[in-house]
Symmetry: C3
Subunit: 472 residues, 3 copies
């Protein structure tokens, strides 16, 4: 929104329109910053404070009065003090009656108090119209005008008119009010600025865990093993070769884990014969972070692509290729072209490219602005159909990469299979079960269940399901 | 919007505020799902049904009454039944008078009925305030809370207060209401969830057609021809080599087709001497899907880039390069560096990189959130100026790639020119006509026409236009 | 928003609902286009004009009357005439009393008049309710329906009801109204369509300047120097080699310049002992365009990646590598593998890949739709923590690339150091100062200052700051 950014600079100079008077309780940093910003935008500001001595910190042009006097001067009172000092407000109940009280407070921890600060305020001053707002904006951002992230101001309140008036102030300050409904939403709004990527935690920890495991696994197989047996020092593999082995593995496993909960849910629904009983908690949480899992997988796939494309630039690779040519010449021999190798090399590369391309498409459609502009049917089509196609292509890419290698005993160093083989377990499981689930005799009851149909207890529960399983 | 996702989980546990009572007609899957969700968010729910026996499917805490009794209990009635059963509502006209009736229905086909379901409902129950909402949300999504795509709920209605109340409910459920104006919009809102990428159909079919044609064309020239004449089996070209020939061709043609309709429109306007007569239907439709055409072209260009960058990793390419070195050594000869080849190879690569880079910029600015934050002038600058620059760079890239090859007779296998030559026809045509159109003596009248000026019939229509044409 | 695009096509055919009558003053291009569009959407249109003769340009179905008569017929009057002709409206003050007057005008230059056109209109017709709207939409877009960029219509006005009515019209036309508050915002709204990437100007000019300097610098060192001394013509370096030297340098410098103003601000705040005095103007502007600086840097980094990845495809590189192999064979010698070189080559590549990956993440989070869905804490985490990590990785990438080369005298052609050395000055400075600033004895007072604390004049200003400086 470049539109608004110049707003911030240009407004101070030309604000001939005088806006209404707003009272701010509390002359702490946030109160002062907000007052400064509002003065710039043409409001008259009166601070309500215990000591009415104007300090140098109070923005120029603002008045400082005792709480009661200040409250009388304005219709809208912004309460910029901490929750633990709210109780003095009970003495002002009369003056505050019918006025709009804006709660801007934040807590230090998520769910610190049983009720939200705004609801607590509403209990203390029952006659006032409480509106929650501004808590998502930082004092620093208000003053400096660098509001890149936090243009959105969540506003909620039970009185619609009061909410509208506060939203008008928000808009005048160059911010975007987002109506969040009744005061019930205050708790979430207060928790919101304390979060640090809550939905991303599980995917990121999982991917770090997987990466660490496969990194150590590959170091043992590819660095320590040759050092122990051949005294060959290939420690520099840690920089590019090993990461390029770990990244595709983690990406493939995470991608498969995006589709696994859907399959578990389908099996649960088939087993229970209804969709109306709740899933276990872990499954619910897993399903809610599928998007994040997929995006982390995409990040690893992207790293894999970059690591792969730089291969021919690496000194080690050039040195090895040169050595190969020189050895051929010294042996006075030219390797003939192997058509099978040509096919394997090219189809493996092609599968990878197509898989990555579809994966990227999935990632783009999960951008908020893109997913908002598609309807439910389109979103399902992309995320489900294209998603499974991506999984199939990436799994095939890994399978063809392996080729017949899994048959060669020398690949099992210290009896450890190559890391890529481990990576195939989850995706192959997911694909096989999914393949079973699209069999008509399983798909039909599942669709019925999802449309709200319930199996009566008399139904022979397992008939069809078992049949098809034995068929596979 | 991670903000809202935790909303879904946390709300059930802490909803001390009691919301109003809402009545739901119809206890089908969608009605029950909506009821379940609303109960979670603190609403009291009463179902209106033919049979008032509480089935196990009805969410716990909801009441089930006969339609009439249920309707009396609430101010807002959600009609979650199918259109063909609406007529029983005429009997309830009296009870429903002045109440808010929310139509949530969807159809099975686009434009199934002459008027929208909501308008039909408004005719049946003239005293009620009809609001269309919730039809874009799926029952499954409501229950499971996995609302990635469909947070947006389009709301329309003729009564503003009724609409606001429904929008408040939408917000409380953690969804985003989007006001679509009067009930007139109901038809579109009902068609919306039935669409599957309507604007993408033409570009995608076109690109599939072009890809198929050029794929077969290249297979004939590059796989079948050497097999027939040299008995050389290069069938593995199908995996990477041929796709990497098809992708840039389709990308270039599609990119040119983005700019062709604008040029046809300009010629039409010049010819007619006015901008106020409608374009033919096909041109209108073509112009409306230019963005999608461009994005499909970008996808093909992206694939071309990936296919090109993996070239040095391919087994075939390494084998051929090794063979070249070995043959040089056997002949005891070192090819001297050819400066012209250096220039051609590097400038061809550089043009491709710059063209792709600008193409990507165009793609990024067409993301909804980015294009919303630029103004009309900026958007025109990017899409028109940068767009033509991209087309010029990509065409030049192809021309330099060809180099002097089009003069070599051996390139015309079976009298077929190389595929890249065919790909140059459309972009070169577009660029030449555009070049003619920016001649001042053509640009001036065109600008006038676009500013609303009309050529009177007496004007000598073709003078300037013809002059410049002969000049070129 | 595909949703709305079909709107434009489908509406004309089925608009049974008759909307209200709207009057348009002025039958120029924009007035006619708007009238045409509104007729399509079901409104009755009456044009107010000096000459009431219906010309062929007036859309079919619209009436043309004298201004006074036309104004009487409608409640909403759209003033589609230029500001300099507004004064005739004073004669109509009586008729226009209480009516909604929509100002759609634009100026030719930014800040052309002291007050906005809408405010001027409000002065001329004091009894009317002035609403500013539609100025961001072009006449051409309204008619052709190709509204890709400009769906957003900024609306402002002092009368809320009048504003709501205009916003309803906007919505009916398939556009998105954006409420900008009171008429105070009219000036910005009028300036908005005249801007051409105002925040991008400085970053783009700066990057062009830097690119030009380093391009010429590199041409002198890498093309002219070998030509003068060795008579070697490597002019083709201009296409790929030199750009691939310039791009990473400019990217790194620009990235460092993103973090420099924050550091200068911190030093200023430490020096002044308060955050309440304004920064110098240039620093404020610099801080506001950091996002744009970063994105331009990302563009250069992206070009660098592409230029690097095509290296092995280039004719020159292949020729040189072949020559190297052939020379080795002729000398009957095989270079042994150098482990240090393996480490340097691979770690340099790995640092670059990780740096670019994080850089891309930063770019994605600065997309409007993504940055709107993160809170202030998350945004700070990404932009500050990840941002510095990116800068560290990219600087390390450049340092390792250089390796020990800066010690070799032959690298200083004509006493000019290699360009990459110059590029390290700014990022290293930034990183060193940042490292000093996170020392606890400096970080603590800085945090206090940023939380609103002020150093009283008696405080020994420099104690801690100086201490730590000498310590470093």
């Amino acid at each position: 929104m470049e539109k608004n950014s110049f707003n911030m600079i240009s407004l101070p100079e030309n604000s001939p329109h005088k806006q209404e008077t707003v009272c701010i309780f509390g002359a702490g940093d946030f109160g002062r910053s907000l007052g400064y910003k509002m003065l710039q935008c043409g409001y008259s500001i009166v601070f309500g404070s215990r000591k009415t001595k104007t300090s140098s910190l109070i923005p120029k042009g603002a008045e400082v009065l005792h709480h009661e006097e200040a409250a009388q001067k304005a219709d809208i009172i912004i309460v910029a003090i901490q929750r633990q000092h709210y109780n003095f407000l009970t003495k002002l109940t009369e003056v505050l009656h019918g006025k709009v009280l804006v709660d801007v407070s934040n807590n230090l921890k998520i769910n610190q108090y049983p009720e939200s600060n705004a609801e607590y305020l509403a209990e203390l001053v029952p006659g006032a119209k409480i509106v929650k707002a501004f808590n998502t904006v930082s004092a620093w951002a208000l003053q400096s005008g660098t509001l890149d992230a936090s243009r959105q101001v969540f506003v909620c309140g039970d009185d619609n008119k009061a909410k509208q008036r506060v939203m008008d102030i928000v808009r005048t300050l160059g911010l975007t009010p987002v109506d969040q409904g009744s005061l019930l939403a205050a708790k979430e709004i207060e928790n919101y600025p304390l979060q640090l990527f809550p939905m991303w935690k599980f995917p990121i920890y999982l991917s770090i865990g997987l990466s660490a495991f496969f990194f150590i696994y590959s170091v043992i197989r590819d660095v320590i093993y040759p050092y122990v047996y051949d005294k060959k020092d290939v420690s520099f593999f840690i920089a590019v070769t090993i990461p390029n082995r770990v990244c595709p593995i983690v990406a493939l496993i995470l991608l498969a884990l995006v589709y696994l909960p859907g399959i578990i849910a389908a099996i649960l629904q088939l087993h229970r014969g209804t969709k109306y009983s709740r899933f276990p908690d872990w499954l619910d949480k897993w399903m809610l972070c599928r998007k994040q899992l997929g995006l982390v997988a995409l990040a690893f796939a992207f790293l894999h692509v970059l690591y792969t494309l730089v291969i021919p630039i690496r000194y080690y690779v050039r040195w090895r290729l040169n050595g190969y040519v020189i050895s051929q010449i010294k042996a006075n021999r030219t390797d003939p072209f192997n058509n099978t190798n040509g096919w394997i090399s090219d189809s493996y590369v092609a599968l990878g490219i197509l898989g990555f391309f579809l994966f990227l498409l999935l990632g783009i459609t999960s951008l908020p602005s893109v997913s908002n502009s598609v309807n439910w049917r389109e979103f399902r089509f992309v995320q489900s159909k294209l998603g499974y196609l991506t999984l199939i292509l990436c799994t095939a890419h890994t399978l063809v990469y392996g080729g017949k290698r899994f048959l060669i005993p020398s690949m099992y160093k210290w009896y450890l299979p190559a890391a890529y083989m481990l990576s195939l377990i989850v995706p192959c499981t997911v694909l096989v079960i999914k393949f079973v689930l699209i069999f008509p005799c399983i798909d039909r009851p599942l669709t019925q269940i999802r449309q709200g149909w319930e199996r009566s207890p008399k139904d022979s529960k397992h008939s069809c399901y078992n049949d098809s399983k034995s068929a596979v």
